[in-house]
């Protein structure tokens, strides 16, 4: 865009949102040119700005959002909605420049209705702030993604987010009762919170990743703040025994807040504890894996295949963490004991320690990526889901596919009666940036393809964004893609909203 055009753009947007709420400076544009997509972090370390919006604007009202969208539409300018930039699939990156609309000025909790168990929240509210404010009313949303400090309600709804307690409270789409959004034509629409018969428009807008409309607020179901908790850690004999235990706990009608199983390598990373003492893996393996978490990560990862093979030396024990929360200690204990009867069949009771430790560290993993990149390595995660009959084949298929490129860790969480999510972490060496990127791309492609071929869905809760868009046709099929394009054309006829995402 030419300087004169940029100047005109700035002036026009300032008229809508005010002089203090529009920015075109190079640092701001660079900052909004990336999200938590791992490759974007590598580019940033190199001082490379591959994508940047022409302008960033912070609207304060729905009316301002409408006027900005209409303005962008009239000028055929791409518009990227932005919450807190925590997408790991390049969902918030302005691939075609244009206007980035940061919704954080619309970041208030509008109402809490404890009698109806509902809260109305503006889209730009950061997750932890929402929980803090709900806590004042002795309520909780029950949605605790590990990105809770750097993600917003609008982003959660747009990407079909899942929190760590989803086995009990559900994913964000299960909590969503209503929303307000501005379509690609600048029209405002409201759905819910009263339930209408017929098609559920909420479920069309939820997961639309900013490509159909800019979500401006959401009505969400809330719950009384739990006052009691009962928890336990188990060492399961094997991944298979652990997966079967997850299934049986759900089959028994139990819905714990936390139910997570870590594969042997991820168990070491998560750490287990018995009555306060660390459980130690064999020394050599522990050293190698210890390095993997230290600054000498690049050295430890000189051969991911070797590290993966070392995994075979680790006793195939998997850590399982279970926790029930509620308003009565007795009820939590009763439910926990029912779960323990099932878990003892496939594992050994480790006491409360591992679960307590998990609670303490539950939000810390997401913030360790920078250290990995600094250690000349790369890290990324891939979260898929499958029905119980396919979970183990997906696990094995992905491990086999990525064996040579990266160290593969996996945990199983977000369980349902029909199946669960598999959350893979890949850590690979990057002796040079180019080699790192090549290996990263190869590992990602191989992992994704293996998961889909084994029957898993493309994404459980990170969304599609730009990085998975090319694989979406394999997920939806030709007819599904046609339906998706039709929905897009209806809500955003000029295709200005978040181009390059979902529909590559």
């Amino acid at each position: 865009m030419r300087p004169a055009e940029l100047e005109s753009l700035r002036r026009d947007l300032e008229r809508i949102s005010g002089i203090r709420n529009v920015a075109l400076s190079a640092p701001t544009r660079a900052l909004y040119g990336r999200d938590l997509y791992p490759k974007a972090q590598v580019w940033q370390r190199r001082g490379e700005v591959r994508y940047a919006p022409d302008v960033v604007v912070w609207p304060g009202t729905v009316d301002e959002v409408q006027r900005i969208v209409r303005y962008a539409r009239a000028r055929h300018l791409p518009l990227t909605p932005f919450g807190a930039g925590s997408s790991v699939v390049a969902g918030a990156m302005p691939l075609r420049a244009g206007i980035t609309v940061d919704l954080k000025r619309m970041g208030r909790l509008l109402s809490v209705d404890l009698a109806s168990r509902r809260a109305v929240v503006q889209a730009g509210m950061v997750g932890q702030r929402l929980e803090d404010e709900l806590m004042r009313s002795y309520a909780t949303l029950g949605h605790f993604p590990s990105s809770i400090y750097c993600s917003t309600v609008g982003g959660w709804v747009a990407a079909r987010s899942a929190g760590q307690l989803s086995s009990h409270y559900g994913k964000i789409e299960d909590m969503l009762l209503g929303l307000t959004a501005v379509t690609g034509t600048g029209d405002e629409l409201r759905v819910g919170p009263e339930r209408s018969p017929g098609p559920d428009l909420l479920q069309l807008l939820c997961g639309s990743e900013g490509t159909l409309a800019v979500i401006t607020d959401a009505t969400l179901s809330i719950h009384p703040l739990p006052t009691a908790r009962a928890m336990r850690g188990f060492r399961m004999r094997s991944v298979a025994a652990g997966v079967e235990a997850l299934r049986l706990v759900f089959r028994a009608g139990l819905r714990p807040q936390v139910l997570r199983l870590y594969d042997p390598l991820d168990s070491l990373s998560a750490g287990s504890e018995r009555q306060g003492r660390e459980e130690r893996p064999p020394r050599l393996v522990a050293q190698a894996l210890g390095r993997a978490a230290s600054k000498s990560l690049g050295y430890a990862l000189f051969s991911p295949a070797l590290v993966n093979r070392a995994l075979d030396l680790v006793p195939p024990r998997s850590l399982l963490v279970v926790s029930f929360e509620g308003d009565s200690r007795a009820t939590c204990e009763e439910e926990l004991h029912a779960a323990m009867d099932i878990l003892r069949e496939g594992g050994t009771d480790l006491g409360e320690g591992p679960a307590r430790r998990w609670y303490l560290r539950r939000h810390s993993q997401s913030y360790k990526q920078s250290a990995v990149f600094a250690a000349r390595a790369w890290v990324d995660t891939m979260e898929v889901a499958a029905t119980w009959d396919r979970v183990l084949s997906v696990f094995e298929a992905v491990r086999r596919a990525v064996y040579r490129e990266a160290m593969v860790l996996c945990h199983f969480s977000h369980a349902y009666l029909e199946g669960c999510s598999l959350y893979f972490t890949f850590i690979g060496p990057a002796p040079t940036v180019q080699k790192g990127e090549e290996d990263y791309d190869r590992a990602w492609r191989a992992g994704m393809q293996a998961a889909q071929e084994a029957g898993a869905t493309l994404s459980h809760h990170h969304g599609v964004g730009a990085t998975k868009a090319r694989r979406l046709p394999d997920e939806l099929g030709d007819a599904g893609m046609r339906l998706l394009r039709l929905v897009k054309r209806t809500f955003d006829p000029d295709g200005i909203l978040n181009p390059g995402k979902l529909l590559a």
Binding site: A162, E173, G207, S208, A252, G253, H462, L483, L486
Partner: protein, 370 residues
Amino acid sequence: MTAALDSGPAWQATGPDAVLTALAGAPVGQVRFAELPEGTAAVVKPASADDLQRLVSLAQRARGRVLVGPPRLGFVALDLSELDQIERPDEKTCLVQAGSGALLEAVEARAIQAGLTLGPLLPGYRAKRVGGWLAGPTRGERTIPPGRLETAAIALEAVLWDASLYRSKQTPRSATGPDLDHLLLGGEGRFGIVTRATLRLFPRALVEAAAARSVASLKEAIEACHEAAKAGLPPAEARWDRVRGTVEARFTGMGAAARARRFGGQEIGGRKVRAHLEVAGSWRAWHAASPLRPEAFELVALHADGAFGALELVDPAEAERASEHARAIGFAVVSPGRLRPDPAVGWTGAALPLYRELARLADPSGVFAR
């Protein structure tokens, strides 16, 4: 295809009484949309999704129109009862695949053999078919622990307006864009015709408990149900009976006994009744339900915001009046009468025009009857 159309004398007949069901085993190619005389209603029974695809393709070329449901003049009505295959329920995943023509009662019977169940259903739905249940106004929703609503369909197969076959992936949850199944669920065939579904089942009452609480009025009964739902302990179903003066709640799954104890009262057995008015509504609507003068109610899919329910009326002739009144106080009336998904509640602003535009684009040649 076991029954099809021909251009024989039957075409000349008019009215739904003259439904064309001759020519058992005739090929789909004999359905001549272009020759369908004015004033003729016809019924076609596709035997497979493939049959239906060919039929829709023919309809599209001949500017014909099809509908799912009772025959109407000038349309080809689809009778999907031949699509009634039910696979063996999978005990491990608690899933079953069923054709849209399968009766829910038959699905339930197969589920029970595997120790599973579809869960509580509104009385009017027990005799319905899978397709009607999912494409109908309630979208096949039920309550799952701990009080969330969820559709029974985990994956769908459907024929779209362009005769293509849509198949969604069988996965417990996903984040792969908008949930396109929700165009078909509750869509009443506007966006496509469901031919097959994978349904979620529940383990069949490993533990079941029921409790009955004495209540003095309908108001008090609703209050008891609302309180249980608010506490995150909704029963799988609840039934109030004016004559007995009780509200009975049935709980299933682990902890059912404890939940029943918290609900209060004594353990009891239950009974099913014929319902005359089936509604879906918020708790606000339920609290205002007294003027409907029900003799009893039965609630399923209780959740924090409301419930589906069947109201038993003293006089069946009262149904129409009660139905109008129910709408006035905010209920969506499921039965009697078809619900239209042009909602008076829930959608405002651009939502309704967008939905209509979407429906128009989804079926540009108007193959599927509105």
